[in-house]
């Protein structure tokens, strides 16, 4: 583990990514303890104040929005929704996708075909529209958003896990386990699962980045988490109307999304280099 960490940090970009991710996770967990203002407290006298470095004498580090709310506090609290949705949605899609992939890879006959079919169906549907439509009908709430994102993004896991299982099941240790009469469930969970875990970790890390963007896009369109909770997407949507005279309102939460996603992607990329044996071969 320590050795892996050392190898991970030999890449300076990946180290920067890891620091960014840790800072965001810290903000998400301890946000309410470190923010200087209540993120929902309005102050009409202080509306649309520019960030401090713009020469404003105010007390608001990153300025205020149209209702006089402190942008720094809102950005810090906004990390909660992004991280929570990103991680939870990935947990759901990895469980569904890996389970399906294991079954389809081990019992290739019918499950495999059904899986390929489901994959092609999912790839043919413009995902964004489907997510929006479902969010519009079932109503937007934190848990609905997590469920929608989780249940519409699992095919990638299934495809990769299935492909790896098709190779693994021909190997001696799986054949032997089968001969010994070990139950299929046991083979799937104890013998196949550990062998596909590194691919699952790589896919998950890169998917978290995508989920964060999806969540903010849904919130931006007003179909995400209800606006009482500050999220980066809704902050940008609100700031969009003041883009002419108060650029910072829409710009700052966007930078937060961008930096977080770059950080997650850098970490995911490094994990892919280290864990994916096929790629390592090609790269070296």
């Amino acid at each position: 583990m320590i050795q892996f960490f050392k190898r991970f940090t030999t890449s300076s970009l990946a180290t920067i990514g890891l620091i960014v991710v840790l800072v965001m996770v810290f903000a998400a967990i301890f946000g309410p303890l470190i923010v200087p203002f209540d993120p929902n407290a309005q102050d009409i006298m202080q509306r649309l104040k520019p960030p401090m470095w713009q020469g404003s004498e105010g007390i608001h580090l990153l300025g205020t929005d149209a209702l006089g709310r402190d942008i720094f506090s809102r950005v810090v609290i906004g990390a909660r929704v992004s991280i929570l949705v990103g991680v939870s949605a990935v947990v759901i899609s990895s469980i569904v996708g890996v389970a399906f992939g294991l079954i389809a890879g081990y019992e290739d006959k019918y499950a495999g075909r059904v899986l390929m079919m489901l994959t092609d169906i999912q790839l043919a549907i413009p995902f964004m529209v489907l997510a929006l439509a479902v969010a519009a009908v079932v109503g937007a709430s934190l848990w609905n958003i997590i469920a929608i994102l989780g249940l519409t993004n699992w095919v990638q896991y299934s495809r990769v896990v299935r492909a790896e299982c098709l190779v693994l099941r021909e190997r001696e240790f799986i054949q032997a386990a089968h001969m010994m009469g070990i139950s299929t469930l046991h083979i799937l969970t104890r013998h196949l699962l550990p062998n596909v875990l590194s691919s699952v970790i790589v896919i998950s890390s890169l998917l978290v980045a995508k989920m964060i963007i999806f969540e903010s896009s849904l919130s931006f369109l007003g179909l995400g988490v209800p606006p009482i909770t500050p999220t980066w997407g809704t902050m940008i949507a609100e700031g969009r109307n003041y883009i002419g005279n108060a650029w910072w309102v829409a710009t700052i939460p966007g930078i937060a999304i961008f930096v977080t996603v770059v950080g997650v992607n850098l970490v995911g990329d490094r994990l892919r280099d280290l864990l994916d044996p096929r790629l390592r071969q090609v790269e070296s």
Binding site: L13, M117, L118, D120, I121, L123, A124, I125, P126, F127, M128, V129, L130, L132, A133, V134, A136, V137, V138, G139, A209, I213, S216, S217, F220, L221, L223, G233, I236, R240, I243, G244, W247, A250, T251, G254, I257, F258, V261, V262, N265, L266, D269, L279, V282, E283
Partner: protein
């Protein structure tokens, strides 16, 4: 080849059938939309009459097969909001979206092809590192925010480009850039690694041994072999482009199908959403079928296998 083509076409029809099932039932899990179309003071009888008129009073399965039977004949129902055939509404907006999607795809190919080829040919050079960084950054932009930032820069501050609408080429510049960003990142990264794989293969070593010029090796030997996985991804990117068009069109108030879809969702105009998703799915499935068929032209070995 003929057998292959027929089985692929049948499979395509099956996939479209699956898409229609998924879309039909998913957008109905919230119940029927009668209440949204009638004034709040509507009486129970009025609601019942409206439901009977629209067919909402039947079971979902019956409604689905009714819908499917009509759809096969090209009738996708009337838009509940505009009182026009739903498919016609979508088709009318299609040219605008195809123009935008085409411009974006062209832009991302112009940038990603040379970038990936040079990065693979000169591995670990500054150029290669730059291409990796660009592909990570390109993947990380939330499209709607990038759009707003471009509007802030080019429309608000520099006053060079119109912030919204459609008409001249100037209207197309910012939406095309926003839409191309993600695809450029994905194509660059994949073509680079496919090129690296191809360049380290035996046939390239043989060609080098024979004294073939390096530019010929890169452009005709390696690129042709790297083209197959890249083409697959470009095919899949068309789906992403059409999906991404939804948000891009919304921010730039660009009158394409994506904006229509968002408005239809906001209005709960089911028939338009259905028509939109099915048309997009048909388009995506067809493009991927063409990509599959093109493998045979790119790689003669695959022709025999089929």
């Amino acid at each position: 080849m003929a057998n292959f083509l027929i089985s692929r076409l049948l499979y395509t029809v099956l996939v479209l059938f699956g898409v229609s099932v998924a879309v039909f039932f998913l957008i109905r899990i919230g119940g029927d939309p009668s209440a949204l179309f009638l004034p709040p003071e509507a009486s129970l009888e009025e609601i019942e009459r409206f439901r009977a008129l629209m067919g909402f009073d039947r079971t979902l399965v019956v409604q689905y097969f009714d819908f499917l039977g009509r759809a096969v004949q090209g009738d996708f129902g009337m838009s509940l909001r505009y009182n026009q055939p739903a498919m016609q509404l979508v088709l009318d907006r299609m040219p605008a979206t195809l123009q935008l999607g085409g411009a974006a795809l062209l832009l991302s190919l112009i940038i990603s092809l040379p970038l990936a080829i040079i990065a693979a040919a000169k591995r670990d050079s500054i150029f290669d590192r730059a291409s990796l960084l660009i592909s990570i950054i390109g993947q990380s932009f939330p499209a709607f925010w990038l759009a707003i930032m471009l509007i802030l820069l080019f429309s608000e501050n520099l006053r060079l480009l119109p912030p919204s609408g459609r008409g001249t080429w100037a209207h197309l510049v910012m939406p095309a850039i926003v839409l191309a960003t993600y695809s450029t990142a994905i194509i660059t990264r994949l073509l680079r690694s496919s090129m690296i794989e191809a360049l380290s293969s035996d046939y390239v070593r043989t060609a080098r041994g024979k004294g073939v010029r390096e530019s010929t090796i890169i452009l005709s030997h390696a690129l042709r072999n790297a083209a197959i996985p890249t083409l697959t991804v470009i095919g899949l990117q068309v789906g992403a482009l059409l999906g991404g068009a939804v948000i891009t069109e919304e921010v730039f108030a660009y009158p394409g199908v994506g904006r229509l879809a968002i408005q239809a969702i906001a209005n709960r105009d089911f028939t338009v959403v259905q028509a939109f998703v099915l048309l997009m799915a048909a388009l995506i499935v067809m493009i991927n079928l063409l990509v599959d068929l093109s493998y045979g032209f790119l790689d003669p070995r695959l022709r025999k296998r089929k």
